[in-house]
Each structure stands twice: as C-alpha cells, then as structure tokens.
Amino acid sequence: MITLLQLVINGLALGAAYALVALGFVFIVNATGAVNFAHGDLVMAGGYVAFGLGALAPIPAIYLLPLVAILMFVLGVALALLAYFPLINRPPSTVFISTLLCGIILQNAFVVLFGPQAHAAPPLLKSGITHIGEIEISIQAMGTMVVAAILIASQYLLFTRTQIGRRLRATAEDRQMAQAVGIPAFALIASTFGLGTALAGIAGALLANQFFVYPTGGIPLSVYAYIAVVIGGWGSIAGAVIGAMIISLFQVVVSAYVSYAAATGLLYMTLLLIFVVRPQGIFGERVQRRA
C-alpha cells in the first residue's frame, strides 16, 4: 500500500511537469488552433537554457526561472514569425509540418551546441529528500508541483477572467472577425507563442534536473502533450492538466510493476482505444462540424 502511495506521489510530481508542458501546448492551440509539434523540443530548449545559465552562475534554478522564461518567450515569438505567420492562410496541417521541421532544426542545434550526451540543470532550491510519514519526496518534486500549480492557476485566470484572455479566445475562434472588431490579432498570436514557449521552457528547466536534457528528449514530450490534450478535450486547460496527470500516473505505476517499454506501449494502445470508443476525446464534447 505504501509503495503504491509512493508511486502515486512520484506520478503526481512527474505529472506536474507534464502538465506545464501540456499547458504551453494547449495555450497555442487555444489561440491559433495550430498544433505545435516543436513543443517538446522547446521544453528541451528550456532545459538547455537552464543548464547553460546554471553553468555560468551556480545559483538555485528558482532565480534563473524568470530569465529562462524571458529568453524562451523571445524564442517562441521567433517560432511564430518563422513557422506560423508565413503559413497563416494555409491548411492547419501545414503549420503542423513547419513546426515539425523547426523541431528537427532545434534537435540538431542542440547536438551542435551541447553534444549528444545528457545534461542536468541545477535544482530549483537544493537537492535532497524530505519525508512525510513513510513517503519520501524530493524537494525538486515539491518545488515543481508548487510552480506548476501557480502557473496553471494563473493561466486559467488569464483565459477566463481577463480581457486579454477573452481576446485570445476570440482570435482563436475567428481571427478575421477578431481583427474586424479591433483586436490586435497578430500581436496576440505572437505573444501567445511567446507565453506558450515560456511555459515549455519553465517545464524544461524543472524537468532537466531530475530527468536530464538530451537532443531527442523532446519528441516523447510533444507526443505526451498532444495525448494529454486529446484525452482532456481539445483546447480545455483543466482537461490538459488532468490528461497530463493521467499519463504520468500511468507511466510511473505501470513502469514500476511491468517495464518502461510496456508502459509506453500500453499508453499508445490506450490512446488508440480511446479513439475507437470516443473519437472526440474522453472529456471532449461531440460537436457537429459547421458546414
């Protein structure tokens, strides 16, 4: 019983980081309707930035996070300028391909800049483990959960309670109509890519301590974010967080009892089963396509 509880705690800690990854992904989906397949590679980029900054200044990562976020924001805007705006009037699948290509460029840039080996970023506060009863939990994992909770709550409030959030949703729904009522759609889309990438970067900085960064590490993260959003219902923030939690719990528990490969295989099989039973996702509502 204790081991299962321990596994659940570990799963939640990993899930907090996955939730941040999925959050940045769904942020861009919500504002543009586009799937950013470079998202996992952007997470890795955040990890590399944290690693690089940590090598320059050996201080806890919590002080580096704002700088990571700012640099990643700039990278996100650059991604929008390169891979989204030139293709804005093309079918959505084109953006999917362009971001996929950007991901390939990023992955190989990592190899050139940092080599093929794995690196670890500095811990958020300090390394170490605390005990709650018989459950052990690392300080990094607790920090990750706190940071994730704060960012998830602020994104939720941003989208539902603020004028900017309403404008973003309007832009995603119908860009031309949003522009017609005076919403600066292009600036909003660019900053959405920036914010989504900043979230990815923070997730990367948090993950890169326990789980390391390496050039191809982003690919599964893109897929997990994608799956989380599918499970949670396309575009739903709460759904994406729940989806990410489900994925991480599934991975941690199945890996512990069977194997990591079995966990991954079963995850994809489950995804396919979900598609058979509910093509609209677990929490998604079936909406008729407007003709």
């Binding site: 190989n108 490969a261 991954t264 099989m269 003709a291």
Partner: protein, 602 residues
C-alpha cells in the same frame, strides 16, 4: 505530340529524365549507383505517401511504419525461413496493407489532428514491438544477413542490376499513381481535398477515398521497405522511426505533394543533398530542415509547382484545352418506387448546445414545384438544408425522399439518390476551370472504383462524359462561353451560376438553392429566376432559400416561413406575406403591413 511536349513543364521534365537516365547508364560510378538506387526506393515511398498526404489531404505519420514493416517481413521471412524474393516481396506488401485495413476503420474517421496523432501512435507501438521482440526482430541491432534479390534464378548481386530493377518498380509505381489520379476518380480526390463539404454534397464517398489512399500508401511503403532491406542487407528499428517519417514528409513537401514528378524530384534532391551536406557533419540536418522549411513557405506546391508557376511567368499559360463538342443531358436518378411527396419532413429537430436551431419542422414538397424557404436571419433555413442533404445529423424526426427514409443517411448517399444543393458561401475549386468544376458533379456518381481506374486504358470515358454533361448544364445556365476559364477569375454572379450548373449536372430530382440571388443585380436575378423555372418545368423540384422576396415573388409557387426553428406559415406567397406571424417575425410586434414583394406594392 509537339503540343503535348510543350504544354506545362513537360519539356524540362523529359529533358531532366533523359539526362538522369544517361547518367545512370553511362557515367555513374558504383557508389553513384547505390545512391541512385536509394533515390528510387525513396521515390516509391513518397509516391505512396502522396496518396494519403497529397491526394487525400491527411497528414499520416505511419508511412515510415509501413516501410519498416515491409522491411521486417522481408528480413524475417528471408532469414528465418529462407524464402526467396517472389515470396517475401508480396508478403512485404500484404503485411502493411493488412495493418492499414485493420486500423483504417477507427483511424480514418478521425479529424485532422487526431488522425496524425493516431497514426503516430501506431508507429510508436510498432517501433516498440520491433525493439522488444528481439527473438524475432533482432532488437535494437536489427536483422542482418538479408540476401540480395533473386528472381527466376538470377541473383541481382551487382549494383547496376539492382539499380535497374528498383527503377523498373518505380516506373510501375508511377504508372499506377498516374492511372489512379488522371481520370474522374482523381478529380474526386481533388474535390475532397479542397472542400470536403462540397465533395460529400456531390455524392463523393469520402470514407472510401480515404480508405483507398491509405491502403495504397501502405502497399507502396511496404514495397519500398522490402527493397531497402534487400539493398542494404539489414533491417533495424531505424527503418521505422520518426526520422525516416520526417525524411519522407520533407521529400514530399519539397517535390510537390500531388505530382509524380514531385515524388521523384523530391527524393533525388534530398538523397543527394544529404550526400553533399555530409561534409557539414552535424549541421547537415539543420541545413536540411531549413531547406525544407523554406520550400514549405515559399513554394506551397513544392518545386514542381514552383516550376509550373515559373513557366507561366516566362512563357504564359499553356493553351487551354478545347471544350467538348457535344453536350449531353445529365441522366436523372430513378426513384426506387411509388411515393406521395418527393420530400416529406416530419418533426425535424436539432439543437446546437442550448439553441434549438430546428424545432419540430414538418412540410411536404411536390414534384416539380418551386418552393421559397424564407425566414429572418438565424431562423434555421440553412440548418434545414444541411439536415436534408445529410451534412447535419438531426436529433429527432424523419425525412423521406421519394418515399424512402433518408434521415441521417450520409450526405453522399442522399446526393446520389437525387438531392443536389448549392451553398450560401460559394464552394468551388478556384484553380479548376468552370467546366471541370461542373464536371465534378459526376465524380461521386460515375467516379468508378480504384481497380477500374487503374485498369482504364486510353482516355477516361467517364471524365469525357462528365465534361459533356457539364457543358449541357453550363449551356442551360448561359455560361457556356466562359466554361474554360479558371473559376477563381470569374465574376461573382457567374460563379454562383457555376454552382447551380454543378447541382444540375448531378441529375437531381430535388435541388436546394441556398441564397442563389445574393449579390446578383436585378437583371441577373431575373435571368436566374427564368432558368430556375425551366428546371422546374422539367420536373425538378426546386427549393430556394432567399431573403429577397422580390426575387421569390416572381418565382415561387409556395412559401414556407421559418422562425426560430419552427414553421410559422406555409402556403401561397400572398397568404404567407400577409400572415400576422410572418409579419411579426420580420418586422416586429405591432406591424400590420404585409411584407413588400415589389417596390410600391403594399
């Protein structure tokens, strides 16, 4: 012959092909031959991917999976059982096809992003299997020692014969691809890719086309994978992974996603680029990504599309083909039996979220009558047309057409039974000529099947007939003189008429026109009304959704008025426009004037 060669970009393509053949025959070193063989294998892979990605317009991420499975089947059957090429090659095609058939049912139903993710998921499961099931697959190291191709006693051991054999199969692949896409069947793909709504409303069975494309892509992928296994004598998980998928996608995007020449150009270019960029070491994948991204942004139709555009810039358009000589009337779909009303709607109800768009709508239509469907904005007129034509699924109620229940039948079946429609917003393919746009009306009905298309010899009779029918429909709408122009350049009023002509060319018994007079001037409106009357005189029932009561007054024998999803009045135009409920719906409570139908007439 000369005019064939000079049209489009055929001349440079023929010259380039000749140069390539000369190079392969006389100048290539054994190393070059190996590279050219790889080009051929990738060309096959890309030709297959073009079906699903280019023609069906679905971003499948399973193409590398089909390739890898083909390779593994060849490897396993050849090394474990010692079977020869005549056994392993068909099995390597059948395996991926079988997988495609099994997963097609759930996966092909999925919308865009979900489809990509599901195909990616399948690929990752297969990759994991290949790594984990190491007794059979050799795990991460793969299976070495796959023999060379052996056919009827000949072992293709030298690089020259392998090169010829592979490119021979590429030619077969090109031929099949050409056969599938050149006729009316290929036009159905074009329409589906450009406009799924219009395609299903014109009787195109989208599920069938997507299925055919997916199966073809699997077959080509499997064949390419098998060849690769023989050529490099080993299969490993690399044959299945995402990097290969990205390579395939890149080749397709760079070459051109629907052109055979694009598949060959893309694969040759990328394979050679990779060789040339090898000196850049780790930078070469970056250069590769940047090159692909640039083409994606700058040349939407790939390099072949860019060449075509260049030709138009330098030498102008190729001369337009002549329209068909003899028009042919569209045959009408025969009714299945006796019926009272051509269309009967009973209690049709549909809600979007909390809004009742249709709330118990019932009415009947008679053969050959012209009925106006009116109502304020948001009253449910277009929604009603969408339910009748099968684009929306209604929650309650029943629609019968010529005595048969068509409630919630798929749109393409309803269309094939004889219900045609136009759209409030024009749904035409801009780059096709008006004639070909109208001819698309036959793509669903006469488009034949995959095998029939592949085995057609000579010109496609069905396409020629579709064009004759299109010409007849165009003549009846008075647009025969502009039919060879691309639709994108035609004036708005003409495009509206192209859409009506397309509906007529399906050979319908019932035509639903959604605001056909919108944006037409008075002269054009009168002309259109006269033409609609001639169709009704032929026995075709016409339903006209309109706000323009002046237009309807001259045309409709009956009016049905909707308000907030309910029929509030139905009957003779004069009675309906004096109906208090109708006046209230249009003009507000307390108004007592009848709706004006013409200037100055109360």
């Amino acid at each position: 012959m000369l005019s064939w060669l000079l049209s489009g970009i055929r001349l440079p393509l023929v010259l380039a092909a000749a140069a390539l053949i000369a190079y392969a025959l006389f100048f290539a070193s054994p190393y070059d031959m190996r590279i050219l063989t790889l080009c051929g294998i990738y060309a096959l892979l890309v030709l297959g991917f073009q079906f699903v990605f280019g023609h069906a317009g679905a971003v499948s991420l399973a193409q590398a999976t089909f390739f890898g499975i083909g390779g593994y089947i060849t490897g396993i059957v050849a090394t474990h059982f010692g079977a020869g090429f005549p056994v392993t090659f068909p099995l390597s095609i059948a395996g991926p096809v079988l997988l495609a058939v099994v997963v097609a049912v759930p996966v092909l139903k999925l919308e865009e992003h979900y489809f990509s993710l599901a195909t990616l998921g399948i690929g990752l499961v297969v990759l994991l299997l290949a790594i984990q099931w190491s007794d059979i697959t050799g795990g991460t190291n793969g299976l070495p020692g796959i023999p060379s191709i052996e056919l009827a006693g000949f072992v293709l051991s030298d690089r020259r014969s392998v090169l010829y054999f592979v490119w021979g199969l590429v030619l077969v692949g090109c031929l099949i691809s050409y056969q599938v896409t050149r006729g009316l069947y290929g036009r159905a793909f074009h329409l589906m890719r450009e406009d799924r709504v219009a395609a299903s409303a014109l009787g195109v069975n989208i599920a069938h086309l997507r299925f055919a494309a997916f199966i073809l892509s699997a077959a080509y992928g499997g064949a390419a994978g098998a060849l690769m296994a023989h050529v490099i004598h080993v299969v490993s998980p690399e044959n299945l992974d995402l990097a290969l998928m990205v390579t395939c996608l890149t080749m397709t995007v760079i070459g051109g996603r629907t052109r055979i020449a694009g598949a060959i150009l893309g694969s040759i270019l990328i394979v050679f680029l990779r060789e040339w960029f090898r000196v850049l070491e780790n930078y070469y994948m970056i250069a590769y990504g940047v090159a692909a991204l640039s083409v994606l942004i700058l040349a939407p139709y790939g390099l072949v599309g860019a060449l075509e555009r260049l030709r138009v810039l330098l030498f102008g358009h190729s001369p337009r083909p002549n329209p068909p000589q003899v028009p042919e009337q569209a045959p009408q779909a025969a009714p299945a039996g006796e019926y009272d009303h051509i269309l009967a709607a009973r209690d049709v109800t549909l809600a979007f979220g909390g809004v009742r768009a249709l709330d118990g709508v019932s009415f009947n239509l008679r053969d050959g009558e012209i009925v106006g469907l009116i109502g304020p904005n948001g009253s449910g007129k277009t929604t009603l047309l969408n339910v009748i034509s099968g684009l929306y699924v209604c929650e309650q109620g029943q629609v019968t057409f010529r005595g048969q229940d068509i409630t919630n039948s798929p749109a393409y079946l309803i269309s094939r039974r004889g219900v045609a429609r136009t759209f409030q917003h024009i749904h035409l393919v801009d780059e096709l000529s008006a004639l070909d746009n109208i001819a698309l009306a036959r793509a669903g009905i006469d488009g034949a099947g995959l095998l029939k298309s592949i085995s057609t010899i000579g010109s496609d009779r069905r396409l020629e007939r579709a064009r004759r029918i299109a010409l007849a429909a165009a003549e009846r709408l008075g647009i025969a003189d502009v039919v060879m122009e691309p639709c994108g350049g035609l004036p708005y009023g003409t495009r509206r008429r192209v859409e009506v002509a397309r509906a007529i060319a399906t050979g319908p018994a019932l035509v639903l026109l959604d605001e056909p007079a919108a944006g037409l001037n008075e002269q054009e409106q009168l002309d259109l009304a006269e033409r609609i009357k001639t169709f009704a005189a032929d026995g075709i029932t016409m339903v006209v959704v309109e706000h323009n009561l002046v237009f309807l007054a001259a045309l409709a024998e009956r009016l049905i008025c909707l308000d907030r999803g309910k029929v509030i009045a139905a009957g003779l135009p004069d009675a309906v426009r004096r109906d208090p409920a109708v006046i209230e719906a249009y003009l507000g409570l307390g108004a007592s004037e009848p709706l004006p139908i013409a200037a100055g007439v109360p």
